[in-house]
Amino acid sequence: AVTGLQSARSATLDASAVPAIRAVDELSSLHTELEQRVAALRDAYNASAGTYAESAARIAAYEVAMGQLARTVNGITGSAQSLPATVRLPSVPRAAAGRAPAVHACTTASGRPC
């Protein structure tokens, strides 16, 4: 009778432990999922940190180029200030108004003077 009783108690204890066991399992899987998420976040963070570092390097390079550009602009400004106020352009032949000038020959279909 004692044995039977103990067996029943063990069964009862086991049954009562099932929810707890389940909870532990769930916790364990949640923990695993959480670990995975943390790992993913860590990877993303590391990637962002690397990109940020590259961007920082590019920005530094741009700043150097901007400095060079500023020096070039200053040089041009200085040169421009030494240019004359007006520039004489080469003359372009313009069709003059009024009567046609005297010519040396005439291109015609007839061959006669025009």
Binding site: A100, H104, A105
Partner: protein, 325 residues
């Protein structure tokens, strides 16, 4: 051909100028014997008489070059230049007598395109290396023949004159020249007004260094090269009550150049200036500007309303223009 010739030389000795003139006369006579359609004894007439027979005959050097040039001009202009328009001219009643002067030609009627001209077959058959040639159809080399004669004569003039001597050679309104002119600058060349009737112009065969003749459409400064004009001002006549002219559109067999009276082209070579003046004319007023600009040509054209237009390349060498006065 059979055009009046004029050679003006600046800064050369009399004997040198005379030698150049004799070379020009000799070369043009040789070109006539080879390419004239108006001499029954010419090499071209002999070739034309055998056209279509398939019988090749030996051909003189000048004519051989002219045939090749005409063939190439047809390909470069995509068929607008076609030496085979002779049959169309004769069908339209073109005679060798002086043209009947009438009112300006009416607008070309919209003729149907001839399907047999599309992708046309070769009309020139050269047999081996023996310079024996046969034609599939009779041809006319008038315009390009004059241009080639000018080219060849100009080469002789250049060889006979000292460097730095200016000269102008004119053949029936087609001109080739090099500076300096008598005024020490570029030669000033007038582009005739095609709306002025021929009968009202003085017949000054001697020419002069200055002129008080009817106003031209434009004056061009020609430093080095050629300038030619294709126009309906002279070669027009009446057929069945309608006025036609000699500038035939090969695609239709009818007078072309809708909306135009004359086209002038300046180029380094007189033969190609002639080819382009004709080809651009056949583009008509609607197409000439785009075609001339695409080809990079210095071209002027007079429309049927009497206005003159020109390409930017032409504007650069235009000294005076009726449109600006």
């Amino acid at each position: 051909m059979g055009s009046p010739l004029r050679l003006t030389v600046v800064g050369a000795a009399e004997a040198e100028a005379q030698a150049a003139w004799e070379a020009v006369m000799t070369e043009f006579e040789a070109a006539e014997r080879a390419m004239s359609r108006y001499r029954p004894s010419s090499d071209l007439c002999a070739l034309n008489r055998r056209a279509g027979s398939g019988e090749p005959i030996p051909v003189e050097r000048r004519l051989r070059i002219a045939l090749a040039a005409a063939d190439r001009a047809g390909r470069v202009t995509r068929g607008r230049f076609d030496a085979r328009v002779l049959a169309d001219l004769e069908r339209l009643g073109r005679s060798d007598a002086p043209a009947v002067q009438t009112s300006l030609p009416a607008e070309s009627t919209a003729a149907r395109r001839r399907p047999d001209r599309a992708g046309s077959t070769r009309w020139l058959n050269v047999v081996g290396r023996s310079a024996r040639i046969a034609l599939s159809e009779r041809i006319d080399l008038d315009g390009i023949g004059k241009g080639l004669a000018l080219r060849w004569a100009w080469h002789l003039v250049g060889a006979l004159l000292e460097p730095g001597v200016g000269a102008l050679l004119e053949a029936g309104g087609d001109i080739v020249a090099c500076s300096p002119s008598p005024d020490a600058g570029p030669w000033r060349i007038a582009i005739e007004d095609p709306t002025v009737e021929i009968s009202t112009r003085p017949d000054d065969g001697a020419g002069s260094s200055s002129t008080a003749l009817p106003q031209p459409m434009a004056v061009v400064g020609l430093d080095r090269g050629a300038i030619t004009t294709s126009s309906t001002a002279v070669n027009r006549w009446v057929v069945d009550g309608r006025v036609v002219h000699h500038l035939i559109d090969p695609a239709t067999g009818e007078p072309g150049g809708a909306g135009l009276l004359a086209v002038t082209v300046s180029a380094i070579d007189p033969a190609w200036a002639e080819v382009w003046s004709k080809s651009l004319f056949l583009a008509g007023r609607a197409g000439i500007a785009a075609e001339a600009r695409r080809r990079g040509l210095a071209a002027w054209w007079v429309a049927t309303d009497g206005s003159i237009e020109m390409t930017p390349a032409a504007r650069l060498v235009t000294v005076w223009s009726a449109s600006d006065s």
